[in-house]
Subunit: 315 residues, 2 copies
C-alpha cells in the first residue's frame, strides 16, 4: 500500500507557495530568503526498523536521526536542527528515554546540529520515534532526484548489501561528502539515498528524471557484509548489493565532464577521517529502458524482481 499511497499524496497535495519542492523527493524544500530550507521527516518503529532486543537505546536513537540526516545529505543540505516525536511504551524507564536521546545527540554533535523541540507521549504500544530534520540547501539549490540527464554517469558512495548485519543502524550519513558542495553543486545533477535498495532507488531516479540507464554490474561496490551473507543466504553478494534495503549510500547522476573534479574533490578529504569512497557504476541513457550489463551481455533490469531475473546469471 505505501508506494501507491505516497504517489497519491504527491498528486493530491501538490506544492503551496511556501514550497519549492513538496511530496515525492527525499526532503521538501521551502522558499526562504538566503538559503532555502530543506525539511524531512522519518519514523523508525519497533519490529519494522529495529528490535529493542537487538539494539541498545543509543543505537535506536542514533538510527532515527541518521536516516533523516541521510535524506538531508541526499539533497546536499547542511543540517541545522531536529525535532523529535517520541512515543514510548508504558514500561519504558526515564533512563531508556534518555539513552535514546544520548544516541541522537552523539550524532547531532558530530554534525553540529541542535535538537530544538519535540513531543513525548507514553502509550500502551511499542516504541515509535519520528524525527523531523531541518537544513539549509546549497547556494545553487537543493539536489533533487529528478535532474539526471542522458549521458550523466551513475556514481555511488560507499558499499552495498548486507546492511542488516550492522550498517542499518551504524551507517554514516554522507554529509561530509555532500557538504563539500555547499557553494556549487559542481557536476552533480541528481541525488538520492539508497533506503529501499540500490536497484529500487536508482530506478526511481531514472523514472523521476525520465531517462533510462545501463548499469555495469561488475563495478558495483560490494560490502563485506554482502559477501558474508551470501555464504548462507542462497543469494549472491551482487544480489544483496542490488536488493537489500537500508544502505543509506548516495546515488548520484554526475555530468561526464565533471567526473574527475568530483573524484578529486572527494580525494581531498583522504586522511582526514572524513573520506568517502566513490564508484562509477553506469550511465544514464536517452532510452528509458533499464539495462544491466555484465561480461558483455546486456539484460533488462527489473529492480523489484532482480533476484529472479539474474537467477541464471549470478554464479
Amino acid at each position: 500500500m505505501e508506494k501507491a499511497f505516497v504517489k497519491w499524496l504527491g498528486e493530491y497535495f501538490g506544492n503551496n507557495r511556501f514550497e519549492k519542492i513538496g511530496i515525492g523527493d527525499d526532503c521538501a524544500v521551502l522558499n526562504s530568503c538566503g538559503s532555502d530550507l530543506v525539511v524531512t521527516t522519518d519514523t523508525v518503529c519497533e519490529g519494522v526498523h529495529f528490535r529493542s532486543s537487538e539494539l541498545t537505546p543509543e543505537q535506536i536513537g542514533r538510527k532515527a536521526l541518521a536516516v533523516n540526516l541521510s535524506d538531508l545529505a541526499s539533497m546536499g543540505a547542511l543540517p541545522r536542527t531536529a525535532l523529535v516525536a517520541l512515543t514510548l511504551p508504558l514500561s519504558s524507564s526515564t533512563d531508556f528515554a534518555k539513552r535514546l536521546y544520548f544516541g541522537m545527540d552523539a550524532l547531532a554533535k558530530k554534525y553540529d546540529i541542535g535538537i530544538c523541540g519535540g513531543d513525548t507521549t507514553v502509550w500502551d504500544g511499542q516504541l515509535v520515534l519520528s524525527i523531523t530534520a531541518i537544513g539549509l540547501a546549497p547556494v545553487s539549490g537543493a539536489w533533487t532526484i529528478a535532474g539526471a540527464k542522458p549521458g550523466d554517469q551513475i556514481v555511488v558512495t560507499g558499499h552495498f548489501g548486507g546492511s542488516i548485519l550492522e550498517r542499518h543502524w551504524a551507517f554514516e550519513p554522507r554529509l561530509n561528502f555532500s557538504n563539500q558542495w555547499r557553494q556549487t553543486n559542481g557536476p552533480i545533477t541528481a541525488c538520492t539515498d539508497a533506503s529501499d535498495s540500490l536497484g529500487i532507488d536508482l530506478a526511481k531516479m531514472a523514472r523521476a528524471s525520465n531517462v533510462g540507464f545501463e548499469l555495469d554490474l561488475e563495478s558495483i561496490p560490494l560490502s563485506l557484509d554482502s559477501v558474508t551473507l551470501a555464504k548462507t543466504s542462497g543469494k549472491s553478494a551482487l544480489q544483496h548489493a542490488l536488493t537489500d534495503g537500508e544502505d543509506f549510500e548516495l546515488i548520484m547522476a554526475v555530468e561526464t565532464e565533471g567526473l574527475s573534479e568530483l573524484f578529486e574533490k572527494t580525494k581531498s578529504l583522504e586522511g582526514t577521517g572524513q573520506e568517502t569512497r566513490l564508484t562509477r557504476i553506469g550511465e544514464f541513457t536517452t532510452e528509458t529502458d533499464l539495462i544491466a550489463a555484465s561480461s558483455g551481455s546486456r539484460i533488462p533490469f527489473d529492480p523489484q524482481g532482480f533476484e529472479h531475473s539474474l537467477e541464471g546469471h549470478s554464479g
Copy 2:
C-alpha cells in the same frame, strides 16, 4: 515521567546557534532572515488522544494537525507548511489513510497551509500520527510563555472544560485571533495554549515568567460542556474548566494599558465568522504565589491538586 523528562531535555540540549528558542516552549524558533521560523511537533496516538472506534479518520487527521496549529497560534506564528509522519496498523486500508489526510487537508486549506512531506510506515501496532508544523513568527518576534510581567492581565480565548465531549477533536486553533497581531505584538507579553489544562498551563506561564498570579474564579468562562459534565461527574463546572485537558484555548499575559486595544481589535472580527471571545480572568503579580480568588476570599491555587483544594469551596 513525561514532565521531568522534558525538563531534562531542555537542560541537556540547550540551544544551538540556529535556534532562538529551543526545548521548553510550545514551539521552537529558528533564526532566519526575514521572519523567524517557528516549528513544532506533536503526536496523537490511539488510546491516548483518540479512540478509532469513537472518531472518524477525518476527525483524527484534523485533530493531529489542529494541535500543532494551536501551538503555532500560541507563538503568534503564521502557519505555512506541515510534515506528516504516519505509522499505520497493518490492517489499515488505503481509504482509511486517505481519510486521515482529508481531515488534515480540510483544516490546512482553511488556513492556506501546505502538506510538504512525510513518511508512511505500516506496522504491527496501533495508529500513531506525528505532525511537524512550520510557520513564520510575527515581525516583532514569536510570543513566548516566559514574558509575563507583574501587573499584566490574564486573558483567555474561548471557554474551558468538558472538551472530552467533543471539542478535544473539533476545536478551532486560535489562528484568526493570533494572526491579527502579525505586524505588532501589541500588548501581548506572553502566550501559551491550554493543552494540559487551564490551571496547569497558566501555572507553567507564571513559573516560566517568574511571577505569581491572582485568578478570579468567578470570571472563568465555563463551556456548556463543563456544565453538562458537572451534572453527572461529581465535579463542578469550574473544576472541569480548571482541570480538564485539551481545551486548546490561548492563555495570555496582556499589558493593562493595552487591554482595551486588545478587546477592540478582536471585536473588529465580529460578524466575519472569525471572531474569538476574550475574557480577562485575573492578574499576574510580583509575588510568585498562585492565588485563587472567589467571593472575596483568597486561597492558594494548586493546579495539580485543585480538585481537592476547592472541595469545600465549590458547592
